[in-house]
């Protein structure tokens, strides 16, 4: 193979076949991934869930992961949020002409490894090459199918007053990590993306809490945006104890320097869950026994008051609304 991706790699000819064989089949292959036009799989028992997501992160590689890992986690977690065990994924690449093959290999490797860990099979893929400057290095779109067991019924519209609100780990780490990786503000800190597939965490939670109401992953827009979405969808209010929200010191340091709110920074391996109060402790305990949710914590509860608003109880015992999700994140100096 040549050292960089050329337009020929996307032409559908010999170079395309080479790329698929040497890179994608090697890293992502399984019994369903064939040379045919569509993957054919047995029909699963139960309702199926389907989701798709596009990934355009810059830089494509960051502490704690890369766009490949992210593209698997994103769709796996979207399915998991509906209580669906992820089964099959497809992936579609748009690669910029000139992108190093070696880097593409890293991405494919990360996808393969993450998919195996998450117990999901990549059954189909597509590769297009765009001219130099037409895309930023590499864009990936994944779509996934999962199966939901009977009795599981999760939705953002299901939150009930009295439900406890749980986060599966510390917040704002992915967003902070990407901010740092872009190196626009001269700040250094040891912050790794929380990017992780969370089906095992969801499975563990559903096992101890059959009445789970809401699970949502706090990706773009962070936990704050999720809380406002749920308020809207369920027609409830939310109380959050600001001191209970887990934030690592490094994330606090960086967001402090830039005047940003960690609750509004993206997570890629942290979910928000809402369940009846009597299950909350069991859920947290179950989460803590999984690989990626050791920092799980109860941060607040659903209320019938202040419909549509998130109310924060502050460190000094004051109460204030969490500002509504807003505009592009700009460092605040004054």
């Amino acid at each position: 193979m040549s050292d960089v991706i050329t337009l020929a790699h996307g032409s559908g000819g010999r170079k395309t076949s080479e790329l698929i064989a040497n890179m994608f089949k090697k890293n992502l292959g399984n019994e369903f991934f064939t040379a045919d036009d569509a993957a054919v799989m047995p029909r699963p028992e139960g309702r199926i869930a389907m989701s798709t997501d596009g990934f355009i992160v810059s830089p494509w590689e960051f502490p704690g992961g890369n766009i490949g890992k992210l593209s698997i986690c994103g769709t796996v977690n979207d399915l998991a949020c509906m209580g669906a065990k992820p089964l099959y994924l497809t992936c579609s690449y748009v690669i910029e002409e000139g992108f190093p093959i070696e880097d593409l290999e890293k991405i494919a490797e990360a996808m393969g490894e993450t998919a195996r860990k998450a117990g999901v099979k990549i059954v189909a893929g597509d590769t297009k090459v765009a001219g130099k400057g037409q895309v930023d290095k590499v864009f990936i779109t994944t779509a996934g199918v999962g199966v939901i067991e009977d009795g599981v019924n999760l939705s953002g519209a299901n939150a009930k007053p009295g439900d406890k609100i749980i986060v599966t780990g510390d917040v704002g780490r992915h967003g902070t990590c990407i901010l740092l990786a872009r190196d626009e503000y001269g700040i250094e800190a040891d912050v790794k993306s929380d990017c992780a597939p969370l089906w095992d965490a969801v499975e563990a939670v559903l096992a101890v809490c059959p009445e789970m109401h809401v699970i949502r992953d706090a990706t773009r827009g962070g936990v704050g945006t999720v809380l406002y979405e749920i308020c809207d969808q369920s027609g409830v209010g939310i109380d959050v104890d600001s001191e209970a929200v887990p934030v690592t010191p490094e994330v606090r340091g960086v967001t402090g320097m830039l005047g940003l709110e960690p609750l509004y920074l993206a997570c890629e391996g942290t979910m928000v869950m809402m369940c009846p109060a009597e299950y909350a402790d069991k859920v947290v305990e179950a989460l803590k026994n999984t690989e990626h949710a050791k920092g799980a914590a109860i941060i607040g509860e659903v209320t019938s008051e202040n419909q549509g608003r998130v109310v924060m109880t502050t460190g000094i015992g004051g109460k204030t609304y969490l500002p509504q999700p807003g505009n592009e994140l700009l460092p605040r100096i004054c």
């Binding site: 460190g315 015992g317 109460k319 204030t320 609304y321 807003g326 505009n327 700009l330 460092p331 100096i333």
Partner: protein, 348 residues
């Protein structure tokens, strides 16, 4: 919470004479909302959000000047993030960026100089807004550019100083919550002089506990009936301030009249580069034509800034004027009184 109990319960149960205290600093406004302090206060204590956000009081014509430099002169604009969305008479810098202008957000003025030295082919202009706290950093940037022999860096000044505002606003409140970081630079003498003239105040820090303590001390002193001044932030603010910073600013800059959006012109309340540094003064370097325009709306920012009305009493608040489409000064930065009321919901 127990540690802050004393100050907190004092403020909750305050039953002395009515007390109007103006926080002059936008960061205070922001933190007071973020910590939920308004709801703690007894109804006898009223917080007025004063003019203390340099972005909010930056006049429309300044944004027009920056947009002119970006679009007409092809300059690269470097700025603190807060200014990007502030509307000018025609467009904001975000709007200019959409039309192809280069607008780069930086963390500090020094980063703008670094950018200029790495991009010698661009004319880089830093938007120099801020009060006494920020002005030394702006001046250091000019000094660095001068020492490095850069001829592609200049600053567009709208720097302001607080004492004029204290004088102009003194009648709007019973006491000031003085901005801790301004006085870290300027020291405490100004506040003592104000006290001599009968204008009371306390210098406050920014944590929840620091704010509660400063407010409680101010309320207690107010109930004693005599003009007062207390430095409630001595871990940062020393009586002498930061003399090196003051001397550096004096070397490079001189006072000038300045327009405060929503308030009007306050004599000698602005800072501009001295003539000998004209090469670094974007206004002179690019001979920017006068951008003063009539800019009339039903916006009542002036009354908000002077504590005459609450933001929600303005006819535009939350309707024509909101953080996505700010009309007036107080809605433009997250530290403006209207924006803080809007985001944090003033009614809670």
């Amino acid at each position: 919470m127990s540690e802050s109990f004393d100050a907190r319960s004092y403020l909750e149960n305050y039953d002395g004479p009515d007390f109007r205290i103006m926080e002059v600093c936008g960061t205070h406004t922001h933190e007071i909302f973020r910590q939920g302090i308004r709801r703690i206060l007894s109804p006898k204590i009223r917080l007025i959000s004063g003019p203390g956000c340099p972005v909010c009081v930056t006049p429309v014509s300044f944004i027009d000047e920056a947009v002119y430099l970006a679009l007409e002169k092809g300059c690269t604009i470097t700025t603190f993030g807060d200014l990007v969305r502030v509307p000018g008479s025609k467009t904001s810098l975000a709007g200019a960026r959409a039309k192809g202008a280069l607008v780069k957000v930086v963390y500090s003025p020094m980063d703008a100089v670094k950018y200029a030295s790495a991009h010698k082919e661009e004319q880089v202009v830093f938007l120099s807004v801020g009060f006494e706290t920020t002005t030394p950093s702006d001046v250091m940037a000019v000094k660095k550019a001068m020492n490095d022999g850069l001829d592609n860096f200049s600053i567009l000044t709208a720097n302001k100083t607080m004492p004029g505002a204290y004088e102009a606003m003194g009648h709007s409140c019973d006491a000031f919550l003085y901005p801790g970081h301004v006085h870290a630079i300027t020291g405490t003498q100004i506040c003592k002089d104000m006290c001599e003239k009968g204008v009371s105040g306390v210098i406050a820090g920014f944590t929840g506990d620091e704010l509660l303590t400063a407010l409680a001390i101010a309320a207690k002193k107010h109930s004693e009936g005599k003009p007062f001044f207390v430095n409630c932030y001595p871990r940062v603010v020393k009586d002498e301030g930061a003399p090196v910073a003051v001397a550096m600013v004096d070397k490079f800059m001189q006072h000038c009249d300045a327009e405060w959006r929503g308030i009007g012109t306050i004599p000698m309340s602005g800072m501009e580069l001295k003539d000998e540094y004209a090469a670094f003064d974007a206004r002179k370097k690019f001979a920017i034509p006068d951008q003063k325009t009539e800019y009339k709306t039903a916006c009542r920012c002036g009354d908000v800034l002077q504590g005459k009305i609450l933001p929600k009493e303005c006819p535009l608040f939350g309707k024509a004027c909101n953080p996505d489409h700010p009309v007036g000064a107080c809605m433009v930065s997250s530290e403006g009184a209207c924006s803080a009321f809007y985001m944090y919901g003033g009614d809670l």
